[in-house]
Each structure stands twice: as structure tokens, then as C-alpha cells.
């Protein structure tokens, strides 16, 4: 049993499934996309435009979070964002979440209820309802949480990874490297003093957010490819490049002030590393045709996309993603690699 789960108070084994659900459900408000709410064999969710967008993402204690760093509500909030970001990256609006908790019998009931509170409040941020889920036992010390997110395209075409064309601009909406920098600070035992720049980086690691409206607006503005940054800029841009049969050349110039912002709290070399390879950021990257208003520096539109690279011809002698024309060290995160 995990040390972090020692202590007083009731455990999952002390409650029936129905009792636990009765304490969890109040955190899940039901919005108007929900036609049949949780509690039946399955939920029914509106899919007004005749299709549903679906994605799923899992977090495992000790792999994806540590109880010393993350409160259960933060785990829940992060899991919601991870999933909603995948919908946003298609240009979709989230309509429903299914939430799974697989946990050992000695998990405090309070962990489960706080996790649900975090899920519920972050779901509210994205105006999406928790419509179902599953509770399952697990071996000693194991806590695994998973969400499947459903979304609606509202009549737009989905923005795939495969649509980037030579000549397009790569742009980012939101931050880069902040979550990775926060992780690095936690690893150093830093960033714990509230109110500091470092503590805000830690906060962005523990509770990253994404911007559904930005994804939707990018889709409407003609983005040719889009992803959220979940495994690092280089790795995720590489996925767009591979799916589109192109190369993406990042420009140091466009990243300089992002790096400089981080370098106030962490060493400069770490700042570069985290901007290029730090994961769990959940900002959006997208490619746009040249001259697109959304990425024009002079245009004051509702959506601000910062140009950070160009889509160029693939080159067998180079990796899919380069920085000012040369290979980048380090590629990001792999789940099973040593």
C-alpha cells in the first residue's frame, strides 16, 4: 500500500459501490448535451451534427502523477484537460466525459471524492458534463484513472494531423514549456514558495489547461493541421509532419521570448529543453496557410496564434522536425521506453 494513502478515515473497502457513487455524483453537474444522465447501463449524449468525436487518456499513480506532488483534485483536473485538449485539437466542442477509477481497497474514500471534485470543477470550466464511468478494484497500491471524452464538431470538418502543406506557418496558441519547467522544479525540490514565478510553473504542471475556443476558431479560420502539445513540441510537431509527409522547421527567433520568460525561474538550457520537448502543456499547435489572419502579428483578432515555424519539404537526410534547419536533441516522452 502506498504511504501516501495511509492515514485515518474510511477506505473504499468500507463503502458499497452505490454509497461511493452517491458521494461522487453530486460533483457532476448535468448540462444540456446530456439526454440520459449517469445511472443507467449507458449514457446518451447529444450529437447534433451527426457525428461524435471521441478520445481517451489514462493516468496511473507513480507513472503519471505522484501523491507527494498532486492533490487528488489536481489529478482529476489534469485528466479532464488532457482529454478535452484532444477534442480541441480536432476543432470540436466537448459534450460528455466518462470517468473510470480503478483503485486498491485501501484508497481513502476522501481521495476518490476529491478526485471527483477536481474532475467536476474542471469539466465545468470546459462546459462539459460527466455522463458515465466505471469503478473497479485494483491490486495493492494501484490507482488508475481514465477519461473518455466525447465532442461535437458543430458542422465543421475535423482538423487532422495530415493536412499540413509546404508553405504553411506553424503557430502555437498558449504557452510552451511551462508544464515541463514546473516538473523540473518539482524534481529539484523547488517552486514550492507560493506567489513566485516558479510556483506558477509548478501550478501549470499540476493543473495545465487548454483552450477549446481557440481550437474551434482555428478550425473555422482554416487551420490545415492541429494537435495539442502533450508529449512535447518536437515530438508532436513531428507527428503532424509525418502524417502530412512534410518537415516542420522551427525557428529559434519565434521561441526566444518564450524561453526568456521561463529563464527567469529556471536555467536557460533547461528552458530551451522544456520549450522544445516538455510535455503535458496542452496548448494547441496548428498549421495555417501563409498569410492567415489568425497568425498575422498585426491583426488583433479574438484568437492569438504565435508563429514558431514553417512547413517545408521533407528531407531524407533530416528528421521530421528541425530547429533553424538542424536536428533537435531529445524527442519527448515514451510510455514504456527505459
Amino acid at each position: 500500500m502506498s504511504q501516501a494513502h495511509a492515514g485515518d478515515g474510511p477506505r473504499l473497502r468500507d463503502l458499497s459501490e452505490e454509497e461511493l457513487l452517491a458521494r461522487i455524483f453530486p460533483h457532476f453537474a448535468q448540462g444540456e448535451d446530456v439526454l440520459v444522465p449517469p445511472g443507467d447501463d449507458a449514457a446518451v449524449v447529444r450529437a447534433a451534427s451527426g457525428s461524435v468525436v471521441a478520445t481517451t487518456d489514462t493516468m496511473v499513480l507513480g507513472h503519471d502523477w505522484r501523491d507527494e506532488w498532486s492533490a487528488p483534485a489536481e489529478v482529476g483536473a489534469k485528466l479532464v484537460t488532457q482529454n478535452v485538449a484532444d477534442l480541441a485539437a480536432m476543432g470540436a466542442r466537448p459534450t460528455g466525459l466518462l470517468v473510470t477509477l480503478a483503485a486498491h481497497r485501501d484508497l481513502p474514500e476522501s481521495w476518490a471524492v476529491e478526485f471527483a471534485r477536481g474532475v467536476g470543477s474542471q469539466a465545468e470550466r470546459y462546459a462539459v458534463s460527466v455522463v458515465g464511468g466505471d469503478l473497479s478494484g485494483a491490486p495493492d497500491g494501484v490507482v488508475m484513472v481514465s477519461i473518455t471524452a466525447l465532442g461535437d464538431l458543430e458542422g465543421r470538418d475535423p482538423v487532422l494531423r495530415s493536412g499540413a502543406r509546404v508553405g504553411d506557418v506553424l503557430a502555437v496558441h498558449g504557452s510552451l514549456g511551462r508544464s515541463g519547467a514546473g516538473w523540473w522544479l518539482l524534481e529539484q525540490g523547488e517552486g514550492l514558495e507560493p506567489g513566485t514565478g516558479a510556483s506558477r510553473l509548478v501550478r501549470d504542471h499540476l493543473v495545465p489547461t487548454t483552450d477549446v475556443g481557440a481550437g474551434r476558431d482555428a478550425a473555422a479560420a482554416g487551420a490545415t493541421a492541429m494537435m495539442d502539445v502533450s508529449d512535447g513540441l518536437v515530438r508532436d510537431a513531428g507527428r503532424i509532419a509525418r502524417a502530412s509527409g512534410v518537415r516542420i522547421d522551427l525557428g529559434r527567433a519565434g521561441l526566444l521570448d518564450v524561453v526568456a520568460g521561463l529563464a527567469a525561474s529556471i536555467p536557460l538550457d533547461v528552458a530551451w529543453q522544456q520549450v522544445l520537448t516538455g510535455g503535458e502543456e496542452h496548448s494547441l499547435i496548428a498549421t495555417f496557410p501563409p498569410g492567415a489572419a489568425a497568425v498575422s502579428p498585426d491583426e488583433a483578432g479574438p484568437v492569438r496564434w504565435r508563429p514558431i515555424g514553417r512547413v517545408v519539404e521533407a528531407d531524407d537526410a533530416l528528421p521530421r522536425v528541425t530547429l533553424d534547419g538542424v536536428a533537435v536533441q531529445g524527442q519527448g516522452f515514451d510510455h514504456f521506453a527505459g
Copy 2:
């Protein structure tokens, strides 16, 4: 590390995520409900009737299966059926599955690929496509698999748990107690000789099936409430009774030949116990208005529903489910209870 996962051959840690996915994907044929197949940030699935039915179910090694009993393809097939049965119980047709595998680094690659094969072939049985999923690391010895199933109501109203009315007939489509009997046999170390009645019970425990067409036809025939038998007849009928504000009185007479069929392979008292409380059967139970053709013994329709009980007034002095008017011993399965 689990003994059952010892042995030769490559492990998950020896492959990149992309390499593993490349070996899994060929098992997942893409049908015509799939608008954007796996490989992007999210899948897009047809939802022609303007809504989507969604459910999720998880299995954990050591809790929901044992490697000594279940081959990985059987785990995959059972997980598909569990989820599809929840859709069938709403009267929905499955349109897409999202599959998650969270596993320790030493899991043989062959386990993951065989699991995927089992998922894929059972998905084909139900004419549904695997449209997405997630791979995640997990602590030593842990293997957790999860599916979210999406479905379409094709314009029908969903059949909820809450619609049973006093005077309705409770009927079952498919078997009762066979999966539980198979589990009991495995516990005794029996049922392993191929070609016997006992081995067929074991088979029905390891690879239960459900009937999507029966759920759809019941919905069209006016079923007032429906569930699949996942936690046992008494427990699941109790959920209908509670949601509907009624009592369900099972009749021994209607169950006698089901029990007799099982009693050829297991003791009579165990047969009764498994028919009443055995889970993971995934047959459908439904309530119908009196005289419904689907449950008339003289009617030779396409769907055969066997009457096994009556919906009666709730009674504070009695539980939600009774057998010939009296309480039933044993209630079924709870995930965390000791």
C-alpha cells in the same frame, strides 16, 4: 512481476509506442461508421440519429481475470462483450470502441497483441470498429484493460431501467448462470476436459456473448425497462426495480429448466445460486407490458424472451427482488466489499 508474464520473447519495454501500435492496429478493421480512424488526436464516429450512447467498463488482472484461466484474446473478447451488452441493454447498435491498455513494462508484447486480436475479432462479431484508445505504463505486475463503447439508437428511444410498471412481465433473452457456473467449475479445478457440458460452461465464463439484435428488437417491441445481466439476476433486476419504484417477483417455475440444465454439470444448489446471483452473463433482461408478443410462449417471433417474473407493487417489508414472494439469499458482486 506476475509469474504468468515470465518467459521469453520481447516485452513492452523493448518496443516504442509506435512499434507496439503498428502491431496492434492490423487487428482493428474499420467499418463504415468510422469517419476519422485511429491515429489522430481523436476519432470521429457517425452518430446518424443525432445522439450517441456511451458506456465504459474496465478489467484488472487478478480482480477480473486470472492469467491461469484466461488467454489474452479471451480477456479482450470478454471486455468487448461487457461493453457492447450495456449498449444492447439500451436498445442501441454499437458504432465504435476505444480500447485502453495500462500495463507493466515486462508484459510480453505477445500478450498485448493477442489481447488486441481478441478485441478485434469480438468487435467484428458485433460489427463495431475499434476507433481509438490509449497505451499507458503501470506498476510491476499490473495489467488493466478498459473499453468505452459508443452506440447509435437509430431513432428509437433508449430503454431505461426506470420504465418497469406494475403488471409488466420480466423476461430474459439468452442464458442465466452459465458464466457463474463456469467460474465455479474453474474454482473447483473442473471443467477442463474439452467437449463436456462443464467445459462449455467454462467457455461461457471466459468468453460470454451478448445479443445486440435482441436488445434492438426488444426496444422496438415496447420493452419498458432493460439491462444486461452483469452482476447477477437478483442484483440487476433489483436495479430495475429500484429505478422504477416497483418490486420484481421472480418465479421458480420459470427458472426450473434453466437450473436443471446447469445441474447436469454442477450441484443443484450451486445451479440455483448461479442462476440467481451469477454475474458476467451478459444476457438481457427486460420488462414488457402484459401480453407482449415477444414473451408470449405461443408466438414464434424472431426474438425469444422467456418470462421469469412479474413486476408488482413495492413493499417496505420486502427487498426489491423476491423469489415466489420471499427474499433471496445473496445479492451478487461488489467491487470493493471484502
